[in-house]
Symmetry: D2
Subunit: 407 residues, 4 copies
């Protein structure tokens, strides 16, 4: 029996109805509730103080857009069975469940080489077992094994509801208002041909706008150099902490964080469905911040300087260049830090990092945005748009970062 209808007040989309008890049940599961304690934009709040919104909030928003999209497709006489409807809603609600705190950082420090999508899938399978196979369709959609491939495209594709939600939401909470996209208009333009999503021709300007807004948000927010500097510091401090712990040093940390500091985990550790996954779902932003604050007073200079830098916003200085900077510059900094802090060469390397960020905003290989003409022809956006240089959009853009401790 349907419980009393649940409604969530969302400043971005207004009131969001939770469509049924199945979906509500998933929302209440500890795996999903945990996303309430992981910020969507990680350390970007150093630049945009409003960007405190959580992965939970984003998941709810994406579910709302999925609901809207499925309704519209049904109105265009696309058949979507109740099982497919629930499957698609569950898939999007759970798509980020494998994210750890500061996901990108974590994948470079604590859980190397384990991608969050892989953990999401492991957790979905565990949930599926708990609820006796009710998530099978969701898992098939998520892993692109479901025959109506447009459902997977809505969860994860060039024009998925994930992106439609996060661009609007991140634009709203950061205040970067020109990142706003016309999610409602795009959804109205969606249709399905040969089991794949297409966009009606008259929606092409909204698609171009979407691609450009996404690009703007990348450089203005997601890859903002101050946020990158903070991420580099966090990566370095976690690597140092791991080194210290594995050398037998006793560091304050929550049990979950301790586990990942002391063990080297890989995908195998998670698939075994043993400790690694159990500890992982206990980990969130709070463990990291709590540890950092304690490490500020630790006797290890590297650990304390880096922790203090993050906690009290004394971030690395960062230079962005189109070409890699010469190695000597890095070595010069290492020498400087050795002298100034009395560190070994190895220790000094924690205070200077170079990194390369590559992005390509649109990749035809993975998936394409297909435009539907009035005569039924379908063309990829890169052919259909006379405006956007999709070739360039598809090209990897590389930027080189050099970040180092400020005086």
């Amino acid at each position: 029996m349907q419980q009393k209808r649940k409604i969530i007040n969302d400043p971005v989309f207004g009131f969001i109805n939770i469509p049924n008890d199945f979906v509500y049940g998933l929302m209440c599961h500890p795996f999903v509730q945990r996303l309430n304690r992981i910020r969507q934009l990680g350390l970007a709040a150093f630049v945009y103080p409003g960007a405190q919104h959580t992965r939970f909030h984003h998941s709810i928003g994406a579910m709302y857009l999925m609901d809207e999209a499925l309704r519209h497709l049904r109105e265009k006489n696309q058949e979507i069975t109740p099982d497919e409807y629930n499957g698609a809603l569950a898939a999007i609600l759970l798509h980020d469940v494998g994210h750890g705190p500061f996901s990108h950082v974590l994948e470079h420090s604590l859980v190397k080489n384990v991608r969050h999508e892989e953990i999401s899938l492991l957790l979905m399978r565990q949930l599926d077992a708990e609820c006796k196979g009710k998530l099978q369709t969701a898992i098939d959609i998520f892993t692109d094994r479901y025959h109506k491939r447009f459902l997977h495209q809505l969860v994860s594709g060039q024009l998925d509801v994930d992106r439609l939600d996060y661009l609007r939401r991140d634009s709203f909470f950061t205040g970067v208002s020109e990142g706003n996209i016309g999610s409602a208009r795009i959804i109205k333009m969606l249709d399905v041909r040969n089991d794949r999503l297409v966009v009606e021709l008259k929606g092409i300007y909204s698609i171009e706008n979407f691609l450009m807004s996404r690009r703007l948000m990348y450089w203005q927010v997601y890859l903002h150099k101050t946020a990158i500097a903070a991420e580099i510091m966090l990566t370095n401090v976690l690597q140092r902490a791991k080194e210290l712990v594995q050398n037998g040093e006793n560091l304050f940390a929550s049990p979950a964080l301790s586990y990942f500091l002391s063990k080297d985990t890989d995908l195998g550790s998670f698939e075994a469905e043993g400790e690694a996954l159990d500890y992982f779902v206990q980990l969130d932003d709070n463990d990291i911040w709590t540890a950092l604050k304690v490490w500020v007073s630790h006797s290890d200079k590297v650990l304390s300087v880096l922790s203090n830098g993050i906690v009290n916003r004394k971030l690395f200085k960062i230079e962005v260049t189109p070409e890699k900077q010469p190695e000597e510059k890095t070595r010069m900094f290492i020498d400087k830090f050795k002298r100034e802090y009395g560190l070994s060469t190895h220790e000094s390397t924690y205070f200077v990092s170079s990194d390369i960020v590559t992005t390509n905003m649109y990749s035809e290989e993975d998936d394409s945005i297909d435009i539907l003409y009035k005569d039924g022809t379908i063309k990829d956006i890169s052919t259909a748009s006379d405006m956007l240089n999709i070739e360039l959009l598809s090209k990897k853009v590389e930027k080189y970062y050099l970040a180092y401790l400020r005086d």
Copy 2:
């Protein structure tokens, strides 16, 4: 002495302060007050019912952005004298004063070959005479004869406050939210080198977004085919009215409209500073609508059918194609309308029109958007942006319209 400070409540920018009595005086002049009776988007309200905002409201908004821009440039140590400050504010406040009702239509029917900028200038000169030369700097800025050329660029250039206001404002009132641009961010990125505007490099994404939003607004709003259909009808009905009047028919019209129906005016008529200009400043949207409503009952079939179509929203059907449609199609329609309405060939041509719309969104020849690098280098956006295909953006895009009376 400064009067009590005037404040205007603007839903787009919040409270707008009128900076001083000189500006307030201009705002109160009948030439500017008349803009209160001319809608910014003309017949686009057929598509977007919220788009009722006026050219007056836009002029106030553009003046606000000019004020913001000049303050920011002063903070960056660009000298702007009080005379230049007032001149730039006056120039932007008056830049649209030469617009007639449904400007584009008018220029194709009643005041052929007279551009609104030319009338704006004539009216500025008349105002200058009234206020004893106080508008000389404004006129110099408007006509690009002032040595600090960036002031002209702010009034009329690729990145002027005119565009910055109308894109945000039109986006706000139409509800096409993705047309929103980051006017505040762009203004913060402006600077001046060699008396010309430049944009700091880190503003490049906002500029790209601005150019794309502008393009979206063009196709989604300004050149929306329903609005074009209405404009074609209005052009035809005014041409028919003029023909009838000049053939001695007595048509209801206000004195100002009567004047332009009975006379063939050109720029010379206006420059003579005689009747033409006097009547012009009495003309606004109301004259046209009032006449159309009366013409609905006129005995001339062409006049009444077209008037009724506009007044009661029975608009031409319109086809948009990348190539011109064959002449036979037009001829077929003419034959059809001759039969159905018992009209002559000439009369029938009023019920079918082909048109071509050409746009180029960015024209380096006129002006350029210059990007300032950290090392002081300046590059045009078409070179600086790796993303936008400015060549394409600069290329004329042509669309062919065929519009005809619906059954």
Copy 3:
């Protein structure tokens, strides 16, 4: 057969779907299209330049809220038949169809003692005849003869969708953001008991906020003294025009306006379904503005001074007092204007007007807002709210205005 689904882009509520062809047909009727040419807030645009939105736009918004309200009531298991659904939508879409331009002014000058609701009803009946009785339910709901009385309450009551729309819309377009109300929240709290609307107890704060926001909008917008000053001038100029015409003077005016200037109409004239109603539906804002602009040059001093004042925003000075000002003050102004303009006493009275504005924001007698407690009890808001002094809210507030020509 259902046509292609129509969607309207509304900056206030986003995309609005037109629910079916019946409703779409009504929207296209000349009676409703005419509302496109009548501004919702009349002369308030003198104060709030963004307030150009039309009665058509408001009617569409109110229809959207009606649709929302009916859906929610159905979800709460209130039966609403398809005929009732269409009837309620039609009733709200047509509820303002009897408004003339500057309605309040008109009712004090051209069509004395005829209320717009009465004309709306006459026009609905005419439409009903045109569409063969399909509007019978709408008319029954509008006139409160339908047994499910909550449908009438939604169209016209203390908490109708008319008010819910106009408060949000007027707040949006004026920029008086604090007038914003929680229309979505209020609609979610609605239910029906004994065929009458009730509001769930937990919605009480939203109701209090709604009542207070309405009050704020009254004093800040609807009864803003500058708007009142303009309305008084317009009333006076139309009365003077009527006097001149009835004395045989030839005044420029559209045929529709001429009709009402030369005839004294009352409800009977309209009910006869003859000329009066035919001319009325041809009248809109444009007729008034066009005439005023021509009258500026008329030889009658009273007519020209008042017309010029409105057209060029030289508005009456206005004093607002809690008590009526002494008669001598008016007489003093009359004497002054006689001398200065060489007018008769009678003519001078057009330049000075006193008026009284009375409002009561909540009237239990007409209708009440009923609060539903969890135990099923129902109490009127004036009993249920411990905060609002509903007695005071219900009390007539009187303000006295004295408006006169400025030097």
Copy 4:
């Protein structure tokens, strides 16, 4: 020398300029940076998932409004010296610096009987010592010892910028849009008479709206029963933790949290400027959440059940009544929990709590909102407003809560 100008992107107010280096220096201090890790609305995010904004963000917003207010007062020829300007900005920036995580909860569990204002003052004094007396004016303003008392009123009064910011900000982030207030309009209406703030008469509707919106936000957000239920649970779990620690149990906690669990602190402990204050500034939301997650697996039933309830959103059921519920009901629950969980009577009491919430929204005794009439008279809002029942608004409203573990 002035550094490069700092700008913060705020989704509520747009770009916020940091006025000078003194203010920027304060913003960077660890005491203020710590507010980045304390959410403004604590556990209300359980109800409003968008409400993740921090006390830091609020402090910046309040500082922006202070800056606006001081500029406006200067334009009205109120003298405000540079020292007073900086003092007022510093006072508002630091006014919340004494807040701990979940402040209300903390004051009922860990730091009993120490109010956050007292800690704010202690921290300001410490900062003042660090920066050699530069904060003396700020402290005088904060403690209401400065002779221009309106500066204190702007920091802490019935109409302070603290409230003006938090109402708008909380409305924005929760999505309770009708809580929006006209902060810009109110600030424009402020003036000073006899060193005290007054509001111009025409601002009275905005003030009434402000008082009502504040009331709506109280019941709809701040005192939302689900948020109260969560706060009660958190109070209980912290009290239990303290009890266990003081009985020698070893509980996981960060050093800062450990300190407050093991010690009984009072204002004296803080004033001594020893450990208590040092540990306090290390405490934030993260310490609490991290501990709760670990305590979920603790062997103490009370601790683990409550911790799990908060972490996984299995909140107490809560009943709100106008009268206190009978003691037997509480006793009945205690008996029930004893049986079901095998607990002692004492332990069972942690699973059921009654509480009383009293609010009065306006207290003339503390301070008043004074309305300035055109003739110079000043009246308190409770006299000036004919609408608001200020007596009632000032009356303490009491609501009784009974909260207990769900089955």
